[in-house]
């Protein structure tokens, strides 16, 4: 490692103590604030899931009561969706990397960025209070009139928490949009942006446009409960289906908030470890935007059997098949990226390949759900549970792990145990499939979701699923240990241990507080990986190949 890098204060060293961290406006430190909070929520939500899977190992309700079980899946959903998945990659890796990738010193509004974390924490206090006070039993979907008239948990508190973290999303979204528009380095045109930036940008647009609708729906619930204005309650002249329309108008685009950044991570990792340019770069960039736009037009596919008009169902089904196209295009492009590469299989690459497999299978399962007549049968069964876990956990969380392992040396300046990382990746993949594949079969058999007890003939598949959950939990706990160890004891990383392109690899690991000593300029398309003959440089200390063409 070069001595000049060692002597320069990096962002981790400059200013110690809680005050320096809690009042920081450095996007890299804010990313860490988010990372710590989100990790806590991920394991909290995961613990609820493990309890559920243990309960479901037998058909009867023997471990917890029905009320407790209903609270477990409600809190699992609420915490995983709003307090982990929605902010996950954007607020951690996005926060850390966006300025680095576009050659900026920070985000456009550094103080807004810190404020968004405080808003997140404030909102999460409401969620934690509702957990500790006794929970919520509405499911994460808060369907009326169950949530407004019949629920007996801390619904208002949890809804308030979701309402507040929504503002954190909006603030982050605005910040990212302005940053991408205004702070790109000289020469970094739109079609030279890494796909990660494209997907973060698309995500930010969806955050800004969709989240207010969620906030509005939650306010309408309050108006109805407190002032008796009939909006969702049929006794007051309201319509319960209106809530579902409003809820999914946010929550379906929110699915794309959750998955798009994962697609961005994988689009960085696959070319790097294949040493090949991303296949069909423009198609991948534009399909991210297409997904963001079409994602707004498919909410009614959650309501095929809700009583909405059959013709509406047909239109929403059609649009849902349309949104499948850009996702399919991406899968083909990622696969073809490997062609003629010099492929190595470090942990980030393993995670990225597992993402590709799980996202593809989850996406193909989506075809069943978009096909109206089949959806009538599998709607609200474990088939749906399996489908969205393949996308959200198999896809998104796996991509998050790929990204975390890929940029870990950049974020911490340290390496982790490659062996343990590969073992964890393999455990995640095996555990995940064992947990969720049986749920496809259960769903086809007709096992409804959100069931505390079930007919005994379904037990075989439930036992497989519960066994898988144990392996999966191990796969997620391992990184907590070896990454935690690496944080303090890991070997020092070089500035560019993977031999990756991208501006973030051209500065020190960890980067200095101001990111770049010299303003980078860009004269090349992204992923300018050599076609052949490149010596693989993994973990080998080396001087940065200076690729910049000084202005």
């Amino acid at each position: 490692m070069s001595s000049d890098v060692a002597m320069r204060a990096n962002y981790l060293e400059e200013g110690a103590g809680p005050r320096a961290w809690l009042l920081t406006t450095d996007h890299k430190r804010v990313a860490w604030l988010y990372l710590v909070s989100l990790t806590a929520f991920f394991f909290l939500g995961g613990a609820f899931a493990v309890l559920m899977r243990v309960e479901l190992a037998t058909p009867g309700g023997d471990l917890v009561s029905d009320d407790v079980y209903n609270r477990l899946f409600s809190l699992h959903g609420i915490i995983m969706v709003w307090f982990y998945l929605v902010p996950s990659i954007p607020a951690t890796l996005g926060n850390f990397l966006l300025p680095l990738m576009i050659g900026a010193r920070d985000l456009a509004f550094p103080r807004l960025n810190l404020a968004s974390w405080y808003v997140f924490v404030f909102g999460s206090l409401f969620a934690l209070f509702s957990v500790l006070a006794g929970g919520v039993d509405t499911g994460w979907t808060f369907y009326t009139p169950l949530s407004t008239l019949y629920a007996n948990g801390f619904v208002s508190t949890a809804a308030m928490g979701v309402f507040i973290v929504g503002f954190s999303s909006i603030m982050t979204g605005i910040n990212f949009i302005v940053t991408v528009h205004t702070l790109r380095a000289p020469g970094l045109t739109w079609f030279r942006l890494p796909i990660f930036v494209w997907t973060i940008y698309a995500t930010a647009l969806v955050m800004v446009l969709a989240t207010p609708v969620l906030a509005a729906s939650l306010i309408l619930i309050v108006l109805e409960r407190v002032f008796g204005i009939g909006i969702f309650n049929p006794d007051l002249g309201g319509d319960p289906l209106l809530f579902q329309h409003l809820f999914w108008f946010y929550s379906h685009p929110a699915v794309y908030i959750m998955i798009l950044p994962g697609m961005g991570v994988v689009s960085e990792v696959l070319p790097c470890f294949s040493k090949r340019p991303l296949f069909g770069y423009k198609a991948v960039a534009l399909s991210s935007m297409a997904i963001a736009v079409f994602g707004f037009l498919v909410w009614g596919h959650h309501m095929f059997v809700s009583g909405q008009s059959a013709y509406a169902g047909v239109i929403f089904s059609f649009l849902s098949f349309c949104v499948a196209i850009p996702s399919a295009i991406k899968v083909f492009n990622w696969s073809l990226t490997l062609r003629k590469g010099e492929i190595t299989f470090e942990a980030p690459m393993l995670y990225a390949l597992f993402f590709l497999a799980l996202f593809t299978f989850g996406g193909l399962a989506g075809l069943f759900l978009a096909a109206l007549a089949v959806d009538v049968h599998v709607h609200d069964t474990y088939f749906v549970v399996a489908h969205f876990h393949y996308i959200m956990v198999g896809g998104m969380v796996t991509a998050y792990m790929a990204g975390l392992h890929f940029w870990w040396p950049k974020m911490t300046g340290r390496l982790y145990s490659e062996t343990w990382a590969r073992v964890a990746a393999a455990a995640t993949f095996i555990g995940f499939n064992l947990t969720f594949f049986p749920q496809f079969v259960l769903g086809f058999l007709g096992m409804p979701r959100r069931y505390h007890t079930y007919p005994p003939e379904f037990q075989f598949w439930h036992v497989l699923s519960s066994a898988g959950a144990v392996v999966l939990a191990a796969g997620y706990l391992m990184p907590l240990c070896y990454l935690g160890w690496s944080l303090f004891r890991g070997a020092r990383a070089t500035d560019n241990p993977w031999g990756a392109t991208g501006l973030e690899w051209q500065t020190a690991s960890p980067p200095p507080p101001h990111n770049f000593d010299r303003m980078p300029t860009v004269s090349q398309p992204p992923y300018a990986y050599p076609m052949k003959g490149l010596e693989h440089e993994r973990f080998s200390p080396h001087k940065d190949k200076v690729r910049e063409t000084a202005a």
């Binding site: 009139p145 049929p234 340019p277 296949f279 696969s335 007549a373």
Partner: protein, 319 residues
């Protein structure tokens, strides 16, 4: 060969086989595509692993014909699946004209069914094999969902409106009935069985239940008890629209619009009479919201429907 492990639900309705054909076609297609992509990626991963001697010369980064090709292929396949699924789905809206009409009511946490002959059952539904059955669904509290996996049918029961689900059982048997929409504490206990009986056994079952009053007859009593007949009856002094031959036919409204007098219209006219007033009448009818519960509403509707013997069938009224 399955060692008692279930892999597929039984097919016991006229819709089940056609839904399954689509399902298994999709399964074959997605398995083939998934296997192809897996082999492709694994194949590349092996062939182009670092240090292998594979040929790496050639085109760079993109191939326009290939990209256009797979985009078009995806579009065609997606739209074909869409068309197939939508065609089957539209059948849901068109039950046969001679279908048996059963009223179903969901409430926390049970299903209550009323047969046309007045027979009432809880968490169990007896239906004849080979005859189409329409279950009109209402809910007394929260959203529930009527789900019979063996029939491949599912429909939410939504408070404040009537929804329908229809099926023709093809195999006699004892099938799970689930509530598929999360409805509170005992959601997983809400359900029971659908018993599909051969027609003669069904007839025997019906008579075993005792020849009660028909649903329509109970509705007529209610119609008098609630005082509806005071205005809507023939000898009434108050001018209210007669209700004979109204169901299933178009009604001219005071605001010049026309609606079909389907279940939705009749139900709204009882609970919110000022919403859609028939042309030529004063909006003087009081609301019965809170005075009749969902079960009574279903009886009243059965009575009003019985006043239109030549009225359009339920399915046509929905259309």
């Amino acid at each position: 060969m399955s060692f008692g492990i279930p892999f597929a639900p039984s097919e016991a309705s006229s819709a089940a086989a056609s839904v399954d054909t689509l399902f298994y076609t999709l399964l074959a297609f997605t398995t083939a595509l998934g296997a192809f992509l897996t082999l492709l990626v694994v194949g590349y991963a092996v062939k182009y692993r670092a240090g292998s001697g594979a040929d790496r010369t050639g085109e760079r980064g993109r191939s326009l014909p290939l990209e256009i090709g797979w985009t078009l292929a995806s579009l065609i396949i997606a739209f074909a699946i869409f068309g197939w699924g939508a065609t089957l789905f539209m059948r849901r809206d068109h039950p046969p004209a001679d279908a048996l009409q059963i009223a179903g009511l969901g409430k926390q946490w049970m299903w209550e069914f009323r047969h046309p002959g007045g027979q009432r059952e809880i968490d169990e539904l007896h239906v004849p094999v080979g005859k189409p059955v329409v279950v009109s669904l209402a809910s007394q509290d929260v959203i529930h969902s009527f789900f019979v996996p063996a029939f491949r049918v599912k429909q939410d029961a939504v408070p404040g409106r009537t929804t329908h689900v229809w099926f023709t059982a093809t195999e006699p048997g004892h099938y799970h009935l689930f509530c598929a929409e999360y409805c509170g504490t005992q959601h997983s206990e809400m359900g029971g069985w659908v018993d599909a009986l051969p027609p003669e056994q069904y007839a025997a079952w019906l008579s075993d239940q005792g020849e009660g009053e028909t649903l329509a007859a109970t509705g007529e009593k209610l119609f008098r008890a609630l005082g509806c007949s005071g205005c809507h009856g023939n000898s009434s002094k108050v001018r209210a629209p007669p209700l004979e031959n109204v169901y299933g036919r178009p009604v001219a409204l005071a605001n010049d619009a026309t609606v079909i007098a389907d279940e939705r219209y009749l139900r709204d006219s009882i609970l919110q009479p000022k919403k859609e007033v028939a042309a030529g009448y004063e909006p003087v009818m009081p609301s019965f919201d809170g005075l009749v519960d969902e079960a009574e509403l279903q009886m009243l509707l059965a009575y009003l429907k019985s006043l239109s013997p030549q009225g359009l069938t339920n399915s046509e009224a929905i259309r």
